[in-house]
């Protein structure tokens, strides 16, 4: 499958009269966007705001971050099976409003929503301090159950990103990147001497607000399966989870999957990017065994020489990660795993909940328990009311001068386990 990504560089977002993309500026009429997201009767109201890099602005509690994209040519549409019809995506031309992001905010759902600071120390830990964010702050109807509230906000974010992306459908992109994924036989013919490399992406599926959807299918109810790597660029995988902010994969991370991107970058040069497996992280032992058995089986069936395995979340999913690694290594296939650590605030505790000698090639996104002080910022979008109870916060963590002490666990995307960031630990 061949997909062309057309990046339209966005350098400004302006709330105004006419919704359009022009000369790098995304103009949004709030009334129009409001009509899109208020279709859902669970949402009472929404406030729009724009947060730009370098501004003295904090966004919290953040649920999801989504990149505005649209299908400009070819089959299917954004977020298939959820927003667009379920038609297969991953081919044709997709336009991206590069540099812009939709951020969903609202009173807390679980405890695991996060913080995005647009300036200061906190900004160094989140990739979304570098995007221009259209923030939607929602008020749900009274008495809405947590899981229904999560779902309503999830869908509202996706609808908004899809609608905004549509404004770029007929705009000429500033940059085009072609991702061409070969079938098994084509790949072998084209690159007979290159190692066949696969990617195993583990998707959060512990349930109870920890879910991921693929073409609308709840991943905890799926067997381990395969996906064409280009499909992820069209929103085939979406986040529905309130895992700790630092290592949840937001929808934006899925749309810009860095492992897929970097494997494509080396495809045909150092390696043959030969396939992508998606597997889950369920909580029952039988599910863990079945899913990791299937991962190893698919790796064997595809004849991969090496695989990269990425994780999502921590603790319980560490066992899935180690099972996947062990079983794939047992086949004689080389692995590299990407994880993060919970080594305690002083960094001297055991980092993972499970380990094995076969996991001898590890990339880490860093220690999520590291404590930092976020300065008082001039503006807060959402509310700071929950910064002591979200994962990574603690009692009395708001200081007299208005600064907030948190573990970086509370910062969106800080220790991402798809390798989105430069941070590591030793």
């Amino acid at each position: 499958m061949k997909l062309t990504i057309g990046n339209i560089r966005i350098t400004n977002i302006v709330l105004g009269e006419q919704s359009k993309v022009e000369s790098g500026t995304l103009y949004v009429n709030p009334k129009e966007l409001e009509a899109v997201v208020l279709e859902d009767s669970n949402i009472v109201s929404v406030k729009f705001d724009v947060a730009k890099p370098g501004e003295s602005t904090r966004i919290t509690p953040v649920k999801d971050v989504i990149e505005p994209r649209t299908k400009a040519q070819g089959e299917g549409g954004m977020f298939p099976g959820v927003i667009a019809k379920v038609d297969t995506v991953g081919s044709g031309v997709t336009h991206v409003l590069k540099g812009a992001a939709v951020v969903t905010v609202g009173k807390i759902v679980g405890f695991q929503e996060g913080i995005i600071d647009m300036t200061g120390l906190g900004a160094e830990y989140t990739p979304f301090s570098k995007t221009i964010n259209l923030v939607m702050d929602f008020v749900p109807r009274d008495g809405l159950a947590a899981h229904d509230y999560e779902k309503s906000l999830r869908l509202a974010g996706l609808k908004a990103a899809s609608w905004l992306g549509g404004l770029g459908k007929n705009v000429k992109p500033d940059e085009e990147i072609v991702y061409d994924f070969s079938s098994v036989t084509e790949g072998i013919k084209k690159y007979p001497d290159l190692p066949r490399v696969g990617y195993v992406q583990m998707l959060q599926s512990q349930g109870l607000l920890h879910d991921t959807y693929v073409y609308g299918v709840d991943m905890k109810q799926s067997l381990t399966t395969m996906i064409c790597p280009t499909e992820v660029f069209d929103g085939a995988i979406i986040s529905g989870n309130c895992v700790s902010a630092c290592d949840k994969n937001t929808t934006y991370h899925h749309q810009n999957n860095p492992v897929v991107t970097d494997l494509f970058a080396r495809h045909g040069k150092d390696l043959n990017f030969a396939g992508m497996i998606i597997t889950n992280e369920n909580v029952y032992l039988a599910d863990k065994e079945r899913s990791s058995d299937w991962t190893a089986k698919l790796v064997a069936m595809m004849g991969f020489d090496g695989v990269i395995i990425s994780q999502e979340g921590f603790g319980n999913p560490d066992t899935d990660l180690i099972m996947n690694c062990k079983k794939v290594e047992a086949l004689g296939v080389d692995t590299v795993i990407i994880t993060d650590e919970y080594a305690g605030r002083d960094g001297t505790s055991q980092s993972l909940a499970d380990v094995d000698v076969s996991a001898n090639a590890v990339v880490t996104g860093g220690n999520a328990n590291q404590v930092i002080t976020l300065p008082k910022l001039d503006k807060v979008i959402g509310t700071q009311e929950y910064v002591d109870v979200i994962a990574g916060g603690f009692e009395n963590n708001v200081q007299a001068d208005g600064s907030i002490v948190v573990e970086i666990q509370a910062i969106i995307g800080a220790t991402n386990e798809m390798g989105f960031n430069k941070m590591s630990a030793r």
């Binding site: 405890f111 899981h147 860095p258 990269i308 055991q350 499970d354 590890v362 994962a391 630990a425 030793r426």
Partner: protein
């Protein structure tokens, strides 16, 4: 100016070789042997006020006595940092440096630093307990070791933030510290995989540690006579979370009385745990901490009794070290209260 106390063996103290390895600990004023190189590296920032010289054999063969004597000397000096070695690949010296540093750090709360070769047995014994600067295998490496150790010593003495092992030159395995790499993680993963497939050398970012596995105890012989306690990492607490146990990365556990409680209700209990949708646990906390079922079993004579206290914390994102510390504390209380068995529930 910072005060540093330096520990060296009889050889580096200029007393002699193996024939003097039984030398009793003595303390001199000022720097001795390698201490002069350290003093030069510290410049005006710190001074080596005293040097303790001790024979390697004496230390190894009279461990408790040697520790006691040396700790007394250190206590008297009250240095800002206790520096030992470097021991390079000298095994007994390395073990002595590690042992005495560990004692000074744990018992006197004074920052410590030592240096040795990665294969020194002292490195394996103490790498997870302190900063050990990685040195070459012989005294030829002194020129290399001194500036690295001196720089780190000053930071430790001042209580400054310590960078990652790769930046500071200490052995990985003690303290995990974040830092920013040149390339993002996914690209590092691709590079590492290509090297691994080609059988070229690569460095894992997280060497697998020895994993602490607990052996199962033999089963309880007669459960109908046993006193059973409930312990949970699922965060069940009295409504309102009176001790404010954190939603994640807990710094404490709670001990709560359930004497006379037959059922945990929505009005009386809830979860503090931030790792899952709390709706179902809040509606009925027995789902996580099954007091109701155990009370029924107690009344039916199926178990001897339900212990009148339960212990609880949130397992979510909580460091293993913290969990182990909580458990050591409340396990002693459980034992003291005559509990025969514990049902440990998670989420």
């Amino acid at each position: 100016m910072l005060k540093i106390l330096h520990y060296i063996n009889q050889f580096y103290g200029g007393i002699g070789g193996e024939e003097h390895a039984g030398h009793l600990p003595e303390m001199r004023e000022g720097a001795v042997g390698p201490g002069t190189a350290f003093a030069a590296a510290f410049g005006a920032d710190a001074t080596i006020t005293h040097t303790i010289i001790c024979g390697d054999s004496y230390f190894g063969e009279n461990l408790e006595e040697a520790k006691k004597t040396i700790l007394e000397m250190v206590r008297g000096v009250k240095p800002d940092l206790f520096l030992a070695g470097p021991a390079f690949n000298a095994g007994r010296y390395g073990v002595a440096c590690g042992t005495i540093c560990d004692a000074v750090k744990e018992e006197l709360g004074i920052p410590v630093l030592t240096g040795m070769y990665i294969e020194n047995p002292g490195a394996e014994m103490f790498v997870d307990k302190m900063h050990i600067v990685s040195t070459k295998d012989s005294a030829v490496g002194m020129r290399d070791a001194v500036p690295k150790m001196a720089k780190l010593a000053l930071k430790l003495a001042r209580g400054e933030n310590i960078g990652a092992s790769i930046e500071e030159g200490y052995m990985p395995g003690y303290m995990r510290v974040n830092f920013f790499e040149e390339k993002r993680g996914s690209e590092r993963a691709v590079d590492m995989l290509l090297a691994k497939m080609k059988k070229e050398p690569f460095t894992t970012e997280f060497p697998m540690p020895d994993f602490d596995r607990v052996e199962a105890l033999p089963p309880v012989l007669d459960i109908s006579k046993a006193k059973i306690a409930l312990v949970t990492s699922g965060g069940i607490v009295p409504k309102g979370n009176p001790d404010r146990i954190e939603a994640s990365s807990a710094s404490k556990y709670g001990e709560y009385d359930i004497a006379g409680v037959d059922d945990l209700t929505e009005a009386t209990y809830e979860t503090a745990h931030g790792g899952y949708d709390p709706t179902y646990a809040n509606v009925d906390s027995d789902r996580v901490l099954p007091v109701d079922v155990l009370r029924e079993m107690e009344n039916a004579g199926k178990i001897g009794s339900l212990h009148n206290k339960f212990y609880t914390t949130t397992g979510n994102g909580t460091a293993v070290k913290s969990s182990a510390a909580f458990a050591i504390e409340f396990a002693a209380k459980l034992k003291n209260d005559g509990v025969d068995a514990v049902i440990l529930t998670s989420t």
